[in-house]
Subunit: 370 residues, 2 copies
């Protein structure tokens, strides 16, 4: 156990009354029994992971669980957003039932956002709800999708259309797992990190502008700060509005545009974070058109996205109508009014449903294509 | 509107804080706009019903909704417990998405327990949760399944294995709908009514003993009293323990045995209430074996079940091992201990996990087969 005592783990809390839970952030925390075992609901443990992650971290996780008198099973799904379907969730349910697991079992999601969303939804609906733990292994999952209880799968007609709000019992962020993450996925995660600066915290945005190179080089201290600050903001927003009746919607900056891009291009061809990057650029440009941002602000947003190696143009093959038809079905749109997250200033977002159709159409027509 | 003022509607409340909701009970309440319209979340309404119920009540429900500037769609599923599958729920989701319904839509379940369970689960998981209203049309749904927020579907490996706790916004019980209910289903509903007397209220049990003939003849005053008292008990138990951590389990008297019967016989061949009837007889006999009930108590339970035209024997083709293998997977069983609801006395149930395997086995071997 002496190795554990050398760990430097920072713990935040998501405050949701009886459903409050910790986020443990540290290099090597995956090996720490004390940060994992207390959150198991019973003896039955189902690890849900995928073919890309299992070779790197499944054995390590099982090692951490070993010797605790647990019944451990695993489901290894294919990799990628295209697998984020009800059929994959059914595979998890089938495995749980084949193992005879009862409602006191625990699911552990070991992987990126897709694994976390599917394992979380599987947990939410298995025997009307069982415990689950998030061990996110991508930057995007570590700073965004593993925190806050949004779970679900895609439907051919739209992203995340089937799902539940179901909070994990703990989120365990081992930043060492980023060392096996492809650079493209690291950039995709940085899109959500940048988002927190844009919507909530101008000084964090400034810090990011100065530290993007360090983040892309996986400097441990920089990565740790970026994850902690992102999780703090997410936890604060979620504690205030768990089921997205109000302020939580701010976290969707760029997402309505981004979801349209993902759906049009086919899930997985653009990574979620890439689509959000382009989408944030579109929201930024629309905020400029509304008169709230300066040309310098727009340039600043473009510069930080480019520094993170994220797209700042829309797909070449996507017409204005391709956006509009998909944006109308987006969950965030109340009845027929188009509700968008925009920027009143850098570091301060707002929810607006008063964008004129003509103004939006002009943006969609003129926005640069890549 | 003068016809509405002639209605005699009694309203109970299920107390769950922000998620509290009313149960409106009355003859003809299906036609009452004031008992339905206030519970819609927005303009989009999806009615979920089945082929047996639609010819009787769909037009009446649409008439009640007419003129309120709503966008009304419907999904008409096949009838029967065999349809209580994820595939049926997917049909509901597909219809919602095809209609472009957003997260401010409302699902209305018009039908028996199967429709209510499926529509409720569809609502729980559509866009991470939308509103739904229960309009139960069978006695079983009116006194039990429509109240309390248990929703879900069956899996080939077990009943109700996939689902959610998701409370309706209102339960609307029109007792006139019982006039089209087959006698066999009326009896199945009486099993749950008798259950409330057995687990909770000896004086209600005595009232039932005196009024079973009137109930089977659909005497309005008797039916109204039985439904109201059943819903009162259910609401009291659910308010105390929404997610079945403790006392709510008492509502499962006879259900662990009953689920084994349903699963072994194939869902729908034995009605749920019939299997619960036989299961309550088994739990009663086991309570006698434990020394808590007298032979006279056992005879009394048998007599009231027989008076309700419910089975008091197990299926002829079911061996002790057929029960045991299915009971172990039952949701109500914590790890490997078999947890059963038994009767300390008539009118008072208890949760016990200390039944000796040998005693249970002896019961399962010797219990009469039909």
């Amino acid at each position: 156990m002496s190795s554990v005592s050398l760990l430097s783990v920072e713990s935040l809390s998501v405050s949701l009354g009886e459903r409050s839970y910790p986020i443990h952030v540290g290099a090597g925390v995956l090996a720490s029994r004390e940060h994992l075992l207390p959150y198991l609901a019973g003896r039955q443990v189902m690890i849900v992971t995928n073919e890309a992650i299992a070779p790197h971290y499944l054995a390590a996780l099982k090692q951490t669980l070993a010797g605790a008198d647990l019944e451990i099973r695993e489901v290894i799904l294919p990799d990628g957003e295209a697998t984020k379907t009800l059929a994959s969730v059914e595979r998890i349910w089938d495995a749980l039932l084949a193992a005879g697991f009862n409602r006191h079992c625990t699911l552990i999601a070991l992987g990126g956002g897709v694994i976390g969303d599917m394992a979380g939804y599987a947990a939410a609906s298995y025997q009307r709800g069982v415990a689950f733990i998030q061990i996110p292994t991508t930057l995007l999952a570590q700073v965004d999708s593993s925190v806050g209880g949004k779970t679900g799968v895609n439907h051919p007609r739209g992203k995340n259309m089937i799902g539940a709000f179901w909070q994990p019992r703990a989120v365990i962020v081992d930043i060492d797992t980023l060392r096996t993450l492809p650079a493209r996925e690291l950039s995709a995660g940085l899109a959500e990190v940048i988002k927190y600066g844009l919507i909530w915290d101008i000084s964090f945005l400034e810090w990011l502008e100065e530290n993007l190179a360090a983040l892309r080089a996986l400097d441990e201290s920089a990565i740790r700060h970026a994850i902690r600050r992102s999780c703090e903001i997410k936890a604060e927003v979620v504690a205030e509005d768990e089921t997205e009746q109000g302020v939580r919607a701010l976290l969707n900056l760029g997402h309505t545009f981004g979801h349209a891009i993902e759906a049009h291009q086919g899930y997985g061809n653009w990574l979620h974070g890439e689509a959000v990057g382009a989408g944030m650029m579109m929201a930024t440009r629309l905020s400029f058109d509304r008169g709230w941002l300066s040309e310098a602000d727009v340039e600043r947003v473009a510069a930080i996205l480019i520094a993170a190696d994220l797209p700042v143009t829309a797909p070449a093959n996507m017409q204005a109508e391709d956006f509009l038809s998909r944006m109308r079905l987006d969950k965030k749109n109340l009845d027929s009014r188009l509700r968008l997250i925009l920027l009143e200033a850098l570091g301060r977002a707002c929810i607006r449903d008063d964008t004129e159709a003509e103004q939006l159409h002009r943006l969609l027509e003129r926005f640069p294509r890549g």
